[in-house]
């Protein structure tokens, strides 16, 4: 066996980070936004069966960009973690913060262990509170860090550009239709600044709705309900062409 070349630790980590970032950037981006009744997940996803968003627990949702098999694995791990915790203690004792911590530890250990290839995923864990102030959104990059986000967050390929677009336009107390419209606008801007149309069939939308009477607040928005929301919002736009401070009625 020949002696391996010396690679400085900084260089090794930088290479791994670069590898993971490139993998994530290949995937389409997705956004997670707060609105008045909860948290909405919006992404472009041509598949009906392979989801980017899913339910983890009563109030907790999961979103992921990057390599499907890796984030699917983490998603199932998260469901098992949450269900086990809820079974051992109580349903109220399952929190997004706890889950985000476990994900961060897992991603961090994998990222820094030389024996494993880093995961090419970026996750978002969100929990809807009883009041908007109780909402929590955590972004988990590939290296095991946790970022506590407020209002809106984007992950995936074009994330930086999309999140700066969202940061400028997102405000508290948006209706679902408004938030959805903003999300679709943000997603349909390409890297070079041109806009393209994303048809409703290619959108994957889910919400954590605090007003849902059921214990489980996660719900996918599909088909007629989705197109109605998108249309409702076009109508609102044509009606009030000028951006007004008053929220249009739902």
């Amino acid at each position: 066996m020949s002696t391996p070349f010396y690679v400085s630790p900084q260089q090794a980590m930088a290479d791994r980070a670069e590898y993971a970032r490139k993998g994530i950037a290949r995937g389409r981006s997705l956004v997670v936004l707060q609105y008045t009744d909860g948290i909405v997940f919006v992404g472009e996803n041509p598949s009906r069966a392979l989801h980017k968003f899913s339910e983890i627990y009563d109030r907790i949702g999961f979103a992921a960009a990057g390599k499907y098999n890796e984030y699917e694995n983490l998603r199932i791990g998260g469901v098992r973690y949450a269900d086990l915790r809820g079974y051992t203690y109580d349903r109220d004792d399952v929190t997004a913060r706890g889950l985000a911590n476990v994900y961060a530890q897992t991603l961090g250990t994998i990222f820094s262990s030389a024996g494993e290839k880093p995961y090419e995923v970026e996750l978002v864990v969100a929990e809807v509170g009883a009041e908007p102030e109780g909402d929590q959104i955590y972004r988990l990059p590939h290296d095991g860090s946790i970022v506590d986000e407020h209002g809106s967050v984007a992950v995936g390929g074009n994330a930086e550009q999309i999140s700066s677009y969202l940061d400028q336009r997102h405000r508290d107390g948006m209706s679902l239709a408004e938030a959805l419209k903003l999300a679709v606008q943000a997603l349909s801007r390409d890297t070079n600044g041109t806009e393209r149309e994303i048809p409703a069939e290619r959108l994957e939308v889910a919400v954590l709705d605090r007003t849902r009477p059921q214990q489980r607040k996660f719900k996918r928005i599909v088909g007629r309900q989705l197109s109605r929301l998108l249309e409702a919002d076009n109508a609102a736009v044509t009606k009030t062409d000028e951006p007004s401070d008053e929220a249009p009625e739902e």
Binding site: S54, N73, I76, G77, D83, L84, Y87, T88, Q105, G108
Partner: protein
């Protein structure tokens, strides 16, 4: 691989193993001591509260499942307002007779098993699949059952593929059989079944079906000391649930007390309840 994967704080290997959508399989792999079937059996006979009568009946468009509120320990009433009918998921419910403590744990695990499958797979189990899952859980409890800690549920749900309400009954060994029309389990089940046998018709409306199960519970309480009748003084009424294509619904306090009151009032004039035709 680390020697002790728990030490790093990352998710242990069992959490990230792909393949299984069952929460019970995961528990068996990761912390088998938490599964009810894996506990050491107690010696001798254990005295514990027992839940009593559960009844169910189908009607065109759904199924009703109801239970009385009494738990007994020997000849003592252990609890007057126990709840023995639970939603299993959005389209099914389970009512349990037998050792109350074990039954509640079994239901909790069963609910979680269905929810876990739904979350992991992104689709719900078929009604048959759910019924079989419950069978496995009861079979796991056989050792306990031999020592007098039996759990005998009644499972009812809306079958989305067949578009009708269905009832499954079980024995202590996990044997499962589908019941057509109506079914009962628990100590008062003999009387409840007799009552429903005379009153049941295949073309009941939802309201009639709920009245039927309340009548059956009244008859069970009438002849079985372990089954509790409607308690007017304490305002404790049977739990009545309905499952249709719109999902699970538990009758509100007002609805079930209304039903129980009208049944009781008629019984003041006719203590043995409505009469069926002789021929």
């Amino acid at each position: 691989m680390e020697a002790n994967p728990r030490s790093t704080g990352r998710l242990p290997a069992a959490f990230l193993t792909p393949g299984s959508s069952s929460f019970m399989d995961f528990l068996a792999d990761h912390s088998p001591e938490m599964l009810p079937g894996n506990r050491k059996l107690p010696e001798g006979i254990v005295e514990a509260p027992h839940g009593t009568t559960i009844v169910a009946a189908t009607f065109p468009g759904g199924v009703v499942l109801a239970g009385d509120r009494r738990a007994t320990m020997g000849n003592m009433i252990a609890q007057r307002d126990i709840e023995k009918v639970f939603p299993a998921d959005e389209y099914s419910a389970v009512g349990i007779a037998g050792t109350a403590g074990l039954a509640v744990e079994m239901v909790k695990l069963f609910q979680l098993e269905l929810e876990h499958f739904e979350k992991v797979e992104g689709a719900t189990l078929s009604l048959e699949g759910k019924a079989n899952r419950l069978s496995t859980m009861i079979r796991g409890n056989l050792g306990m059952a031999m020592q007098g800690l039996a759990v005998v549920p009644l499972f009812a749900g809306w079958d989305e593929s067949k578009e009708k309400g269905r009832i499954f009954s079980y024995d202590v060994t996990g044997g499962r059989s589908e019941e057509h029309g109506f079914a009962a389990t628990g100590s008062g089940s003999i009387f409840a079944r007799g009552s429903m046998k005379k009153l049941y018709r295949a073309d009941l409306t939802e309201e009639q079906a709920t009245t039927l199960v309340v009548q059956a519970l009244y008859d069970a309480a009438d002849d079985d000391s372990a089954t509790g009748g409607p308690d007017m003084a304490r305002r404790i009424f049977p739990i009545v649930t309905v499952i249709t294509d719109e999902g699970f619904r538990r009758l509100s306090e007002a609805e079930s007390s209304g039903l129980a009151r009208s049944v009781t009032e008629r019984r003041l004039e006719q203590p043995d309840g409505p009469r069926a035709a002789l021929l």
